[in-house]
């Protein structure tokens, strides 16, 4: 069969078809992404002005507020407190979760390790458990009357800490995130390990490298792009933690209703009724997330290039 010259048979349909296929996605993007983001930005620079006694129609009007909402958001001790808590929480969750994900991915990739298909499924399992349910399960396991930890500590005659208050609360909360997130990240890293060319490892093995050396010197640097990706998504998810502290809250007095920034936004918007302040806080949170992830991305990029240059 002879191939027609490119474009000769291109009809009107070929030119318009891609736009047709993109139409549903584009419409949904406009309605449920672009429009809300624009509206949030608009709200964040407005406020309600009340005329007179604030009674009757037209007594309340939305007026330009400039950066006023941003100023008060950044000065709000509740917001700053929640931001600090979540930074501490993130500093625990992200390294531990990605460290474990990387470790398990490397172990899955090692042929001398047994029980790999069982472990792969078991570690991935929490991905299928909603955050709310994960928090319910762990929350009960933290309750002194239910917990096996407290049972063991009691038997051993040791003091039993309250896992849902003060310092231990960070560990308890981080544990839920690590439990829920390790599996998915492990799969992402494992997938890119599997895509690496095997000749490199064989050559290294012939040169007498141990499996550990191969993992540290060859595998980890080569899967750096997927590590950076998982890192990026983990930070975004961590800074927005909401479901888990919200769910644990009824089980303890140790979690204030503004524990995380997102809880603060929710509280302002739906309990306090100030959607303008809440929007400004949400925008600040989004910008901070971007800034933090890009800054860390740059640092890790510099590290990788230096490492490669050695």
């Amino acid at each position: 069969m002879t191939q027609p010259p490119k474009g000769a048979r291109r009809s009107y349909g070929v030119k318009t078809a891609p736009y047709g296929f993109l139409l549903p996605a584009a419409l949904l993007f406009l309605l449920f992404f672009a429009l809300p983001i624009g509206y949030a930005l608009w709200l964040s620079v407005h406020k309600v002005e009340i005329k007179g006694l604030g009674l009757g129609k037209g007594a309340k009007s939305e007026v330009w507020a400039g950066l006023e909402n941003y100023g008060s958001a950044l000065a709000d001790p509740e917001f700053l407190g929640s931001a600090l808590r979540v930074l501490g929480y993130g500093a625990l969750v992200v390294p531990v979760m990605l460290g474990l994900a990387l470790l398990f991915a490397l172990l899955l990739d090692s042929e001398r390790v047994r029980g790999r298909s069982f472990a792969r499924l078991a570690i991935f399992l929490p991905y299928a458990v909603p955050g709310v349910i994960a928090a319910v399960l762990w929350g009960f396991l933290y309750l002194p009357d239910v917990s096996p930890f407290h049972f063991l500590l009691e038997k051993a005659g040791l003091p039993q800490p309250d896992l849902m208050d003060g310092g231990p609360l960070y560990l308890a909360m981080s544990n839920i995130a690590v439990w829920g997130g390790t599996g998915f990240n492990m799969i992402v890293i494992y997938t890119s390990l599997r895509a690496l060319p095997t000749e490199v490892f064989e050559a290294a093995k012939l040169d007498g490298c141990s499996e550990l050396q191969i993992a540290l010197r060859i595998k980890i640097p080569m899967v750096m792009p997927s590590l950076v990706l998982t890192f990026f998504f983990s930070i975004i998810a961590t800074l927005q933690v909401f479901n888990e502290p919200m769910t644990l809250k009824p089980l303890t007095n140790g979690i204030p209703s503004t524990w995380s920034p997102l809880m603060k936004v929710y509280n302002d918007a739906f309990t306090g009724g100030n959607i303008y302040a809440a929007s400004a806080t949400a925008v600040v949170l989004a910008l901070a997330t971007f800034a933090l992830s890009f800054a860390l991305l740059r640092i890790s990029n510099r590290r990788t290039t230096q490492g490669a240059g050695r």
Binding site: I37, Y39, S117, V132, F140, A282, L285
Partner: protein, 311 residues
């Protein structure tokens, strides 16, 4: 399936000059022998420990769902109780079976939402992979920023806009915002680029097939596993979603499982008898997805979830 094929592929061919006997010897630096096949004990232990850690809460909820009210706080954590049938009966009877209503709602939101999401992602991914047109990269990049957009900045204005349209507290308010998944579009593009050869599309055109016919008859069958992946990803994402329905819905008849169990837990703070219902409900909520993954992993690979197209 890429799952279990590699160990065989990764076996090093025996190096010239080595006898089979040396395979069991510890590798001395500089020896060119095949890698030892012994089980690495410490790494295996670490991996199994990780697996057990991940199974622990699930194992607990299975045991705890069998405990009666008084057993929950008095017997050892992993000691099975005697109340499973009672708990299931009480849960079903609770407020005329509202629990099963929540379960049904979750299936509806996640099932229909994931189905629509898969269609939208397949359309967009196919267009981005197969056609060359103006604005292609721009569209893709704008869409990708959506992946990075924190849901928090979307949730409040989405609620207010839904309120403007008089749609809050409706099934649509939870369903519609979750149809478009930027990650789904991204996966759709990757799979379409890998699975659909340009020559095949061109051949279809030469044979006089229209663009729609080429998509449905050629592209969709080739995209099979990729579409299953997008569906599963989005199904899990919607099934696990809490924030959006929590904000949008007020009527508990429309709650999905996550929000329903949350409100039940909240009431439990003053009525501890509800705790056993929460635990039994949590068990029943976890089972369908676990079963889904166990069944589906026979003909579908987890690797696909991270956009792996090699195999």
């Amino acid at each position: 399936m890429t799952g279990h094929a590699t160990p065989a592929l990764r076996k090093a061919p025996p190096a010239a000059g080595t006898t089979p006997g040396t395979a069991q010897a510890p590798p001395a630096p500089g020896t060119a022998g095949p890698a030892p096949r012994r089980t690495a004990l410490l790494p295996t232990a670490a991996l199994i420990l990780g697996a057990l850690y991940c199974l622990l809460p699930v194992a607990w909820v299975v045991v705890a769902a069998t405990k009666a009210d008084d057993e929950l706080f008095s017997t050892f954590t992993f000691l099975p109780g005697t109340g499973l049938a009672d708990n299931l009966g009480e849960l079903t009877a609770y407020r005329d079976g509202i629990y099963w209503k929540w379960m049904g709602n979750s299936v509806l939101y996640a099932g229909l939402g994931a189905l629509l999401s898969t269609v939208v992602s397949a359309f967009a991914g196919y267009a981005l992979a197969v056609y060359r047109f103006r604005g292609r990269e721009l569209f893709f990049n704008v869409m990708l920023t959506g992946v990075l957009m924190p849901p928090v900045i979307l949730a409040i204005p989405q609620y207010l806009l839904m309120a403007e349209a008089d749609l809050t507290d409706s099934y649509l308010s939870v369903l519609l915002p979750l149809i478009l998944s930027p990650y789904g579009v991204y996966l759709g593009r990757i799979y379409a680029e890998a699975a659909i050869p340009a020559e095949l599309v061109e051949a279809g055109r030469v044979d006089g097939a229209g663009e729609w016919r080429i998509f449905t008859r050629i592209a969709v069958p080739m995209l099979g596993p990729g579409l299953v992946t997008i569906f599963l990803f989005q199904f899990v994402a919607i099934w696990n979603n809490f924030l959006l329905p929590f904000i949008m819905l007020g009527d508990d008849e429309k709650f999905p499982m996550t929000v329903g169990l949350f409100t039940l837990l909240k009431q439990g703070a003053s009525q501890p008898a509800l705790y056993t219902l929460v635990i039994t409900g949590a068990l029943l909520a976890v089972l369908p997805l676990i079963a889904l993954f166990l069944v589906i992993q026979r003909f579908w690979s987890l690797d696909l979830l991270s956009g792996a197209v090699k195999s």
